[in-house]
Symmetry: C2
Subunit: 351 residues, 2 copies
Amino acid sequence: MRVTIRDVAKACGVSCASVSMALGDKRCRLKPETVKRIRETAEKMNYRPNHAAASLAGRPSRMIGVVLEDIRNPHIAQLYMVISGVLRENGFMVVGHITENTGEEEEERLVSEIASENLCALIWGRPYEPDRTEENNRLYERIDALGIPVFTMGGYEFASPGVNVCFDYEKAGYLAARHLLEAGHVRIGCVSGPKNYEVSRQRLEGYFRALREAGIEPDPKLVFEGDYTREGGSRALPYLMGQGVTAIFAQNDEMAFGIYRSARVYGIRIPEELSLIGCDNVPFDDVLEIPLSTVEVPTGEMGSFIGKELVTLLQEEEWAGGTRRTVYYDPDLYLRGSVRKVGEGMPWKNE
Amino acid sequence: MRVTIRDVAKACGVSCASVSMALGDKRCRLKPETVKRIRETAEKMNYRPNHAAASLAGRPSRMIGVVLEDIRNPHIAQLYMVISGVLRENGFMVVGHITENTGEEEEERLVSEIASENLCALIWGRPYEPDRTEENNRLYERIDALGIPVFTMGGYEFASPGVNVCFDYEKAGYLAARHLLEAGHVRIGCVSGPKNYEVSRQRLEGYFRALREAGIEPDPKLVFEGDYTREGGSRALPYLMGQGVTAIFAQNDEMAFGIYRSARVYGIRIPEELSLIGCDNVPFDDVLEIPLSTVEVPTGEMGSFIGKELVTLLQEEEWAGGTRRTVYYDPDLYLRGSVRKVGEGMPWKNE
DNA sequence: ATGAAAGCGCTAACAC
DNA sequence: GTGTTAGCGCTTTCAT
């Protein structure tokens, strides 16, 4: 069997209690000398604490759950890596719940799992769906019942302490569309993510706002509902071209990639015949022959913020009374070569 | 506090033992009626088992560690997702050790962490480095001491039961190089991964073999050591072009992407001036204007195999006596547009 | 400054 | 069939 705290105690001629203290780093009232001796013996004996036992005995666990959608999107993978890196550096283990499946049933299972994993915190990175009020309420109830800090990324309104780390997707959509408008485009399509996602709606709102600001009434026929995957983007292209657009705002880079692929198949040249702007700024953007202009989402920063903030919170003596706050990250345009200027000024100023 | 097995027992008027049995699914000797009653009450009371406690009490834990390098490579992300999906479906939780850092120190930490996590199995996906015999031995010792099944992907020689799921990278390198040769190329560069990785060497060997088979003595100057990242590929291009190559075998698609990017910057046209073949077959390959020819690595299949096989092993009553075996996956060429035919036949047949 | 003892939630041998 | 009991490895009062 593995070497336990008792083995160390015996070897040192002290009690388990002392070993526990000596190894626990806290305000331990042992003679520094004793502490040293115990630590050395433990080291020598290759002692490893048993987290399960510690956790059972009342210590908060060191496991943090991370709930994320499709990690094959490098943008999300990046987020996961950064978070996981910070957490691990601080001695936490991360339990990944990476699931592309959605729907109520899946969420039900997810929550059940989480409940029996005795985590010390949760990072809930699933996209928020505003319409599912009932399901969301059930979710809040069950997650909040865990009594652990919960970090989210937009929308969710858990009561547990934690922070909601948001990105201003409305502005992202606005900037993207405005850029297209400023380049002289008038008939501008949009490939959205699932419309029931808050983040999709926000981008859509921003896109609408830019259009309206330019005196163009948004045309629902110019919005194609995708699913944030390349396939969605590919399907969108023929449809939107059929609507006579000269430019497309893809709500994420993945879908923009799908448009690239589809454009090649249909023989449509970017940016000559079609201007394109994405959102995310994934590293792949600039390997394309016509590098993709996009809106940068600082995933790395956000991930690192989440990790550090969570660690800090967990270290506080009494986070339990803590409250919830929201933090916003701001979009920036990242211009490359996929948008072509068609006029001199803005079209609505031409009259 | 959370509802425990005792609460349920009390509510049912039975003992904890009965509840434990009823919920444990096993060959339980309780009246079916009692079982039903217990289960229902548990459900109603919203009871969730505490894994930590179960594990402490001797039950094998349900946590499986997955050790992987940079998950931002969609190829690896895919592997992780598939494995994680299968595992979760079977009621296991996956603890991710995703770390791009390498080196002995990091590995030391990794193993320490793992040791105190009481996992019930380990999937060790780090690349094998044959030269580090000493470190490897230390690693074997410590991991094997855990007494849990260990799955690997190439090279490692743990003694623990499990399976070593390999891909025939030698053949992959061979196929890639031969394809280039058959297209009439003679001066063929190679961007390798780190030379201390077994998987890099294998691909290199295959590439050498193809060259020799074609009567060409491999030239070490035509091999650029990369690191499996886009940046490595980007750096390789100017060097290899300086060596007068007309074709490059990139040991993975990521580096091929770096070459694409670099080629754009230097104004080198693919495939007119440079033929390129990669390895992995990631989904990005076909969004490029000139889609990347590559060697397919069936990551999804391999991941799903690993997951299922592991679950099966864990379910066996007595896997502890089990042994280790190796399974090989075979490469396939996936041809798209990045390789140009320069001659009619094979160059070495031209004389 | 240190030890003894109780107990965290669950399981498994052993009783009845 | 079902209950009792004794831990699993650790933490934490409370004694000393």
